[in-house]
Amino acid sequence: MTDHSAVGWSWPRTDAPDKVTGRAAYTADLSLSGMVHARILRSPLPHARLVRIDATKARRVRGVRAVLTRDELPRDPAQARYGAVLHDQGVVAIDRVRFIGDPVAAVAASGLDAADEALALIDVEYEELPAVFTPEASLAPGGVVLHPDPREEEMPGTHPVPGTNLCGLTEIERGDVARALEASDDVIEEVYRTPPVHHCHLEPHATIAAWEAGRLIVWTCSQTPFLTRRQLARLHGLAASRVRVVVPYIGGGFGAKTNLRLEPIVSHLARLAGCPVKLVLTHQEVFHVVSKHASEVRIRSGVMRDGRIVARDVEVTLDTGAYADTGPQVAKKCTYTAGPYHIPNMRIKARCVYTNNPPAGSFRGFGLQQMAWAYEGHMDTVAQRLRVDPLDLRLRHLYHEGDRYITGEPLHSIGLRECLEAAAGRIGPARPAPRVSGKRRGRGVAIAMKGAFAPTTAAAWVKLNEDGSATVAAPTPEIGQGAWTVMRQIAAEILQLPPDLVHMAPLDTDVLPFDDGAISSRSTFTVGRAVRDAAVRVREQLLQLAAVHLEASAADLVLRDGRIGVRGADAGVTIPELMRARLGRSGTLFGDAGVRVAGGRVMDDHGGYEVSASFWFIAAGAAEVEVDEETGKVRVLHYATAVDVGRALNPHNCEMQVRGSAVIGLGQALTEHLQSEAGQLLNASFSDYRIPSFRDLPTDLDVVLVETPHRDGPFGAKGVGEVAVTPVAAAIANAVRAAIGVPIRSLPLTPERVLRAMRGQEP
């Protein structure tokens, strides 16, 4: 790049040496002296009262060090339950089990065989309760209530309805939807559905816990180490600082490794066993931890004959399974997800519903995948009804810089048109697709806009070491997204250092400042700002020292390649020389910074508005598909995606994030569906739940990075990770619709569903 030495080009990833040699240590690779191993006993029933649990025989098994049942938990339910939004989940089952796979007990033993033997000897008596497997059944009057007791709120504001299975109910409205619908020339109504799908991160959940002098130390694959620490501390009645969370490399998460996962069970086992305990889930267990919400989105649009969409009414229902997890927050986020179009009257209502399915929670996109699936399919229906080109309809309605969102907040840095035109342009003009015998071809587009959550805070520090290198302490986990490379680039840019002279401090909550974690694509924008500001403080100090040392004005100093020179003069000094000269042999320069990104209610002359997003990032997708007339199989010939990243600090990393996200979207569009029957998962393994392989890629997959710099982002950067997954399914489905002439409103687009649609059968 031009004026920057470290940002804007593809620095080699700094984790490459570790990752290509196998040295990179993930949680399961760690081993502590005296450590024992844990296994979980899981419920075979979808809903039952726990009548009796007897672990006497299990405790006698040779090698068993601890057995955890409800009897070993604190009597106070507040200390035995946890949850990201509501404290509804027992560390192990307390009074009931609520899904097939619900942890009932856990054993720590010297070896896994002993632990398994002990599990088999735990005697559990259940009294089966009626179970519900769909939101519809769950909300039917007079039905079973999964969580009759009141639950404490970890995160207020999602409005659970006591005495019902509604654990989240939020609504938002701008304008007057009822009146606008009434005044519309036509109202178009549709229902779109998505099934539960799984994250399929390759690293299974893994946690090690140990107690040392009354402190709890946890090594765990958490995307949110500080939320994990806070929630774990509450559970054990400790001050947050009495819990230390260390996060090694994480083998992917996509939202599945947020808040608390294995940490409650493992920390209790470690307490009971008096030694470190390690738990690594089996592959099949991982499918029972958390998934993406199945959704139903009912959408009604009021349109005018001149092609304007004037009103939209949306009702979202999410199946969050047996425990709320982040579900109520996802539902709330759905109400903040109004789409990228300026529609003057809009209402969104979202419900989050308990069922006896395995829990659902955060997944890349946090509700936007489900919403974009509905909005963008619906746009093609509206276009068809209005007899206009789907791309033109979209372009006509896109928001512009400064427009007010459904929350009233003004929009900034939204490269919507640029993304949509770039993606559509790659697929080619909307000419008729070529005819191939036995195949039908079609093209489609979709676009989605995500707000990274607000409010949020971040802090970081940077120190300049006596050898002239810098160490960055930024509290964001390296989960594969390349955050650590980008943090180092930002510091290197400010301090004008080469890549090998910028180090990263390990992720340890004892050392680092609080952070919300590697979620919502927030790391670069939020933590990156803190790193930038911290590095600027170091740089200021450095230049002050240099000014004294070189007897020059600070304004005349030039810092480049580890050396400070004076403009227009030969004088200069390297950073280590300067530090030795001014600070002695062991000097360090230190800078820290905190960033607070505002959110919530903001007052203005018009009565105020709500800030829901710290920044907006956008992805458009365009697909060309070929459908086999005889089998219904969809082949994606070409998928092009354009993502507005603000500023690409590391184009290669951005591309990797976008491409990977797009391929997850491809899997969800065509094949992925976590299936169950009466609460029993049917495909809880990679053998039956197939994610895209090398063989399943589109013939061409283009990635375009659009740069609409954000005024607050470090060097204009925004987030990248999540958004590219969100338009994929709708773009492909719109292409399929163009090919076969009928819409499909449920995912995935399996060959059978497509074939039935082509034949006019109910899919």
Binding site: R13, T21, A24, G252, M656, R659
Partner: protein
């Protein structure tokens, strides 16, 4: 029941007294502390536990360690002979053909096995050989590039040329064949 198992692991003969029901992946990770080999699906589908046994790629999660007796095992730790990266490792590092890294060591071992079989694989051959190694992060394209680059370099090396090394710089916007 325990048995003495002798195998050549990464060029060194190891002799272990192990239970016959232990899996090779567990023996490598737990007994020999070779944790670069990862464990995930446990059913031979994901490829994270790929090691080479007698030169061929196997799922170490499906191999009883006692049946590796008398055989040669190569893991990711044995690939960088004398601290020098194997061309496949070097290509993955240079291109940045990974994200979370959990699939990477298995990918590299499979790619190594491929290039041992076929020094000049085309895109189709790479895809067919590598298809059993799953990645959820990257969308695969850069892994294909890295394998192509490694193959090209090895061929150069074999013909005693100095390889021209394209640097991973800027954003490649096309899937492109390797």
């Amino acid at each position: 029941m325990k048995r003495v198992v002798r195998m050549a692991v990464n060029g060194e003969t190891v002799e272990l007294l192990i239970e016959t029901n232990r899996l090779l992946v567990d023996v490598l990770r737990d007994e020999l502390r070779l944790t670069g080999t990862k464990a995930d699906c446990g059913m031979g589908v994901c490829g994270t536990c790929t090691v080479l046994v007698d030169g061929r790629p196997v799922s170490s999660c499906l191999m009883l360690a006692c049946l590796a007796d008398g055989r040669t095992v190569l893991t990711i730790e044995g690939l960088a002979a004398g601290g020098r990266l194997d061309p496949v490792q070097a290509a993955f590092a240079e291109i940045g053909a990974f994200e979370c890294g959990f699939c990477t060591t298995g990918m590299i071992m499979s790619a190594r096995a491929l290039l041992n079989e076929d020094p000049a694989p085309g895109r189709e051959e790479i895809v067919e050989f590598m298809a059993g190694n799953l990645c959820r992060c990257t969308g695969y394209a850069n892994i294909l590039r890295a394998i192509g680059l490694a193959a090209e370099r090895e061929r150069h090396r074999a013909s005693e040329g100095t390889p021209a090394v394209p640097r991973a710089r800027g954003c490649s916007s096309q899937t492109g064949s390797p």
